[in-house]
């Protein structure tokens, strides 16, 4: 009998796993996908919001593609319980789906600030396609939008909101913006840049409640200073979707604990993406990395192992980039490691900023800021990722970079980073192009 693979979650991790199973398997297997939403990419929702792409563009695996891959689907259904001993997943409509192995890829969900009125009308999260539709319908030219939370998700839709002709105010509880993506110096440069582009920023602001005010919304703060607006977007963090695993016996810490093959503690149960707690490439410690590249790599590794290969994962690297008003902001690896040796350079007029962090003579983290039209910004973005990813010893280049933190390209080329990286592949073989996945027979 053909192996029965069950994929729970149709996001990035789940779809990458399905593709990889089809690429790697020796014998044709049965694949079943359970997904609350049809598969689409949350990464591209900001471009749907600014109307630069049609809604149809967001879907990653349409019904036709899934049929071509020979995937049986339960769309619009959620997994409600897992019984690894019996090898059964029960859905929210009571359907029992038997499996030989399964992948938990249930992702994460947005969390709203715990204040009165947070669930009221014209208060939106921006996470799902449905929520994106709601925000798009609620913004008109001249609208005043207040974004609560100044993290990565908020910043991915900042350009979109401005391009719709809305006025934007960002409110953050922490003393600075992007607290989990860049340091204080970088945040200061971005704040100044945004203010010159007409975005109002209020940091250190504790929201007390959200009220209705004659068809508009009023935000009240602990320290006073009300804000009145047309639409509120809550970008106040996410939580991993783990609750349904209670009683399953699967070990859960901050996420589903997985080994270097993405296997959970339960037999034949794998986990990938936002919901998995795997190895961090830099620290070697378990970590939840709720980012797109980790979901892709996790999904591919899990898929290959489910298809019968034995593929070890080295660990995931935290990487983030966001562009705001043509300023690129990116960070890599352990950019906030207090024990690291650090060097930085600022050119406030451009503005441009580099921060480099070392453990020994290996670069373990970096922050970069610069105009997106500036060649050196894009060059350095990739090369900093390569330096951190390779973990190659920098020798005398460390001292050079400490003095000249903008001279990334020379250090990269002369340290032979290309040579160190070229043999590296995630699956131990060349990757296939998106259209090259063998179609089910």
């Amino acid at each position: 009998m053909a192996t029965r693979h069950l994929i729970i979650g149709g996001g990035t991790a789940g779809i990458n796993a399905i593709r990889t199973i089809r690429e790697e398997e020796r014998e044709h297997s049965e694949i079943t996908l359970v997904s609350a939403e049809p598969p689409y990419s949350r990464m591209v929702l900001p471009y749907y919001l600014d109307r630069s792409i049609a809604e149809s563009h967001v879907f990653t695996a349409t019904a036709r593609v899934l049929a071509g891959w020979g995937v049986k689907t339960h769309l619009g259904r959620r997994a409600a319980a897992l019984d690894p001993k019996a090898g059964t997943c029960t859905l929210d409509d009571g359907t029992a789906v038997p499996y030989d192995d399964c992948l938990i890829a249930t992702g994460s969900s947005p969390v709203r600030a715990p204040v009165p009125g947070a669930d009221g009308p014209r208060v939106h999260s921006f996470w799902t396609l449905d929520e994106a539709r709601g925000v798009l319908a609620g913004i008109a030219r001249g609208s005043h939008v207040v974004m609560v939370g100044a993290g990565f998700i908020a910043f991915t839709i900042l350009n979109s909101i401005l391009s719709l002709g809305a006025r934007l105010t960002i409110v953050e509880m922490e003393p600075r913006i992007l607290p989990r993506m860049i340091d204080g110096t970088g945040a200061g440069l971005v704040e100044a840049w945004l203010e010159t582009h007409g975005v109002a920023i209020r940091t250190g602001a504790r929201l007390a409640r959200i009220e209705d005010a004659k068809g508009r919304k009023r935000l009240r703060f602990a320290a006073g200073g009300d804000l009145t607006c047309d639409l509120v977007i809550m970008a106040t963090g996410i939580k991993t979707n783990l609750d349904w695993l209670k009683g399953s016996g699967v070990s859960v810490n901050r996420g589903v604990v997985v080994d270097d093959r993405l296997r959970s503690s339960a037999d034949n149960v794998y986990a990938a993406g936002d919901v998995a707690e795997g190895r961090d490439l830099i620290s070697g410690e378990p970590a939840v990395h709720a980012i797109e590249p980790t979901a892709q790599e996790h999904g591919r590794i899990a898929g290959a192992n489910m298809a019968g290969r034995d593929v070890r994962y080295r660990g995931s690297l935290i990487i983030n980039i966001v562009e705001v008003c043509h300023l690129d902001v990116a960070s890599f690896g352990a950019w906030d490691d207090p024990k690291a040796e650090a060097a930085s350079g600022v050119r406030a007029d451009r503005p441009a900023y580099r921060k480099l962090l070392w453990r020994g003579d290996r670069l373990t983290g970096a922050i970069i800021l610069g105009p997106s039209g500036d060649i050196w910004t894009t060059n350095d973005v990739g090369m900093l990722k390569g330096l951190v990813q390779s973990g190659a010893p920098l020798g005398a280049w460390k001292a050079h970079l400490k003095k000249n933190p903008f001279d990334v390209k020379l250090a990269f080329i002369a340290s032979g980073i290309t040579k160190a990286l070229l043999p590296e592949t995630i699956l131990g073989r060349p990757a296939k192009a998106p259209g090259d996945t063998p179609v089910a027979v």
Partner: protein
């Protein structure tokens, strides 16, 4: 597969490759839009071109959330403009710094080997860039290490 082989010791820094590349790729002579880039070494006494290795992993391709990067007939990773949304994930996924972004078009762009007839190799007057059937490699590392010894702190 044929790849761009770089011979840094032959590069004179004339930048014709950058002009040819940008003209072929964008229809305008603008080195800022070139995906092959010449770097100076040793106080501008020597130079070397640098471009995409067409690596086996294709970090840009596997990172793209919408499948906008594919492999073209020449074997190069190539951006499909109609599919690319400009999210820049490829620019941070590529560990070689050879993925670019054009704010004017809001698209990512990279070396696609000009579909099998690379303009840079054709334009190079000293054969410092050749298009050959060979395995891709780090063509510049040893050259650059030698030509940068003096700029390094504590290295004579």
């Amino acid at each position: 597969m044929r790849v761009l082989r770089l011979h840094p010791e032959k590069c004179t820094g004339c930048l014709r490759c950058e002009l040819a590349c940008s003209y072929e790729q964008t229809g305008a002579f603008q080195p800022a839009k070139s995906v092959i880039r010449v770097s100076p070494f040793e106080g501008h006494t020597s130079y070397a071109p640098y471009t995409c290795t067409q690596c086996a992993e294709g970090w840009c391709m596997t990172a793209c959330p919408v499948g906008a990067i594919t492999i073209n007939a020449a074997g190069a990773k190539d951006v499909l403009d109609d599919t690319c949304v400009g999210c820049k994930l490829c620019t941070i996924a590529c560990p070689y710094g050879t993925m670019f972004y054009d704010p004017a078009t809001r698209k990512a762009f990279k070396c696609n080997l000009c579909g099998g007839a690379p303009a840079c190799a054709e334009a190079c007057p000293t054969a410092a860039i050749t298009y050959e059937e060979t395995a891709t490699a780090d063509w510049l590392g040893d050259f650059a290490r030698e030509r940068t010894a003096r700029v390094l702190t504590g290295v004579s």
